[in-house]
Amino acid sequence: MSSLSHTVSDSLVITRRNLIKVKRVPDLIVFATLSPIMFVLLFRYVFGGAINLPDGITYAEFLLPGIFAQTVVFGSTTTGASIAEDLQKGLIDRFRSLPMSRAAVLIGRTVADLGLNAISIVVMALTGLVVGWRITSSVPEAIGGFLLLLLFAFAVSWMMALVGLLVRTPEVVNNASFIVIFPLTFVANTFVPLESFPSVLRTFAEWNPVSSVVQAARELFGNQPASAPVPDAWALQNPVLYTIIWAAVILAVFVPLAVRAYLKTSTR
């Protein structure tokens, strides 16, 4: 077998192992989906009336792409915590002593977390349909929207994998990543239109990749009214391209860094 097919088969073994955990600890998936449902309901009914939107769009339509993006980015933080946990329990040492592919543990982890994120999106989309969200574009565009969300989440997972390998304590990984992920997902067009931001924050938000993911999703799901003002920033005028560039750059930088950290790490 070639080394590529080894990498694929080893990664599948690890992915399967990670998904078995989800099956054995159903709380994981329950809470991973309950919190986005809660977010959908909270924002839809608590803040919905207070947020000014362009004509021709309901808050549910505006909100859902934002919730999708926020949830998958948060979902990606589990990659870091899980890897730190494997490290703590000595499993990474075991894997490193085996004649397996050097990247398979990380690929298996990020792919399993991609699967979890896909499940969350399905749950959120169904909840969204209940509270009034609708896809008004074509099927290929809608599929493109979901794939783009997952691509970005997958790239964030690799960043988190590196964090997990360097920070090494699952709880600390969670807290540390929240400090970064919270502002990143809130200083964006996730829940409120950018027009309401003060100028400095607004510039940051316009170039924040989370904004472009949300903007791209809104366009691809048809949740952007014709009356919406044309954004000033290039990033938001070309959100799909800008998101793909970000995902590609994150992967190009963090995949090699994470693999290198994996090869150098050992338990405690």
Binding site: H6, S9, D10, V13, R16, R17, I20, K21, R24, V25, K89, G90, L91, D93, R94, F95, R96, S97, L98, P99, M100, A104, S266, T267, R268
Partner: protein, 331 residues
């Protein structure tokens, strides 16, 4: 392969490893002949785990050379990993997977076919007395069961060399005895094993030869008997009712001791290396009779690692220096 290494499954020459300013290994040499068990003995922080980590390709040495099954651990790491099994200090099993799933996963990662991995998993679970628990998540296993599962996992590809890093540390005495039987069984199969331990008794029971290391250096090597001859057979141990009684007992028993008796006024315990077994014990009791020394406890015991250390280094194995403890757990 055996011609290149002279029949040695493991050869280590002048191994040096530093962590920052701290020298964990300071020129360690050792060999493990094929089909034998080497006990690597030392207190916490001596460098045992560092040796195992280098041999199992988890760490790179700063100087020196090591081969496993004739393969260089630095330049042929990938080939080395295919012929070794490693059981680390922490039972590295996935808690959420069943025993069976754990073994099959490791088997698959050793590149065994699905069927082969499954049939070997079944056989190993049976051999390690885990058949009944095979379909339960490892989370539900006791400490001893986890260790057994961990060792089973490292055996699934029938490695030529097995590394066991403190396989019984943290186990209760009953599980420890059980574990010894399992390991002894492996030995009779002809597996080459490098075993690290803090217990002289464990090395005595399982190993053909021993290497004692301290602060990253080899301080003694030989068979269990050679080492014991150096350390001097058994120990007579007595606990006195008072400090005065302790001094008096030391004086009365000095003629029986091979070396100057050791007095610990804190525990009021007297330790003297002796020969002659039960007869010596009886002799000691006769000498104490009518002396007025209140004896709370007296008996013979076999020498332990602490005695080896006292004899070889003049200090107790427990007296680890500050900073040395970190060494067993390098980052």
């Amino acid at each position: 392969m055996s011609t290149a290494t002279g029949g040695n499954a493991v050869v280590v020459e002048g191994l040096v490893k530093r962590f920052g300013d701290f020298t964990a290994l300071d020129g360690v040499d050792l060999t493990v002949p094929e089909g034998t068990v080497l006990g690597l003995l030392g207190p916490n922080g001596a460098g045992k785990t560092t040796v195992v980590r280098i041999l199992s390709t988890l760490l790179q040495a700063d100087a020196g050379r090591a081969t496993v099954a004739g393969l260089d651990v630095a330049t042929q790491a990938a080939q080395v990993r295919a012929v070794i099994g490693l059981t680390g200090q922490y039972a590295a099993v996935d808690e959420y997977l069943t025993g069976e799933e754990n073994l099959e996963m490791v088997g698959r990662l050793y590149r065994l076919g699905k069927k082969e991995a499954r049939s070997r998993a079944t056989a190993l679970l049976d051999r390690f007395d885990l058949s009944e628990a095979a379909r339960r998540p490892a989370k539900t296993y006791s400490g001893g069961m986890r260790r057994r599962l961990d060792i089973a996992a490292s055996l699934i590809a029938r490695p030529r060399v097995l590394f066991l890093d403190e396989p019984t540390t943290g186990l209760d005495p009953r599980s420890r005895l059980g574990m010894w039987e399992f390991i002894a069984d492996l030995v009779s199969d002809g597996t080459t094993i490098l075993l690290t331990t803090q217990y002289l008794e464990e090395a005595d029971r399982l190993a053909d030869a021993m290497v004692v290391i301290d602060r990253g250096r080899v301080i003694a090597r030989g068979t269990a008997d050679e080492l014991k001859a150096q350390v001097g057979g058994e120990r007579l141990e007595l606990t006195a009712g008072s400090v005065e009684g302790l001094a008096r007992a030391a004086e009365l028993l000095r003629p029986l001791a091979l070396e100057e008796p050791r007095q610990d006024t804190q525990t009021r315990r007297l330790t003297l290396p002796v020969t002659g077994g039960a007869a010596t014990l009886a002799d000691a009791l006769r000498r104490l009779e009518g002396s007025g020394v209140e004896v709370l406890d007296v008996g013979l015991r076999r020498p332990d690692l602490d005695d080896v250390f006292l004899t070889l280094t003049g200090r107790s194995a427990e007296d680890a220096e500050p900073g040395t403890e970190k060494q067993e757990t390098p980052r």
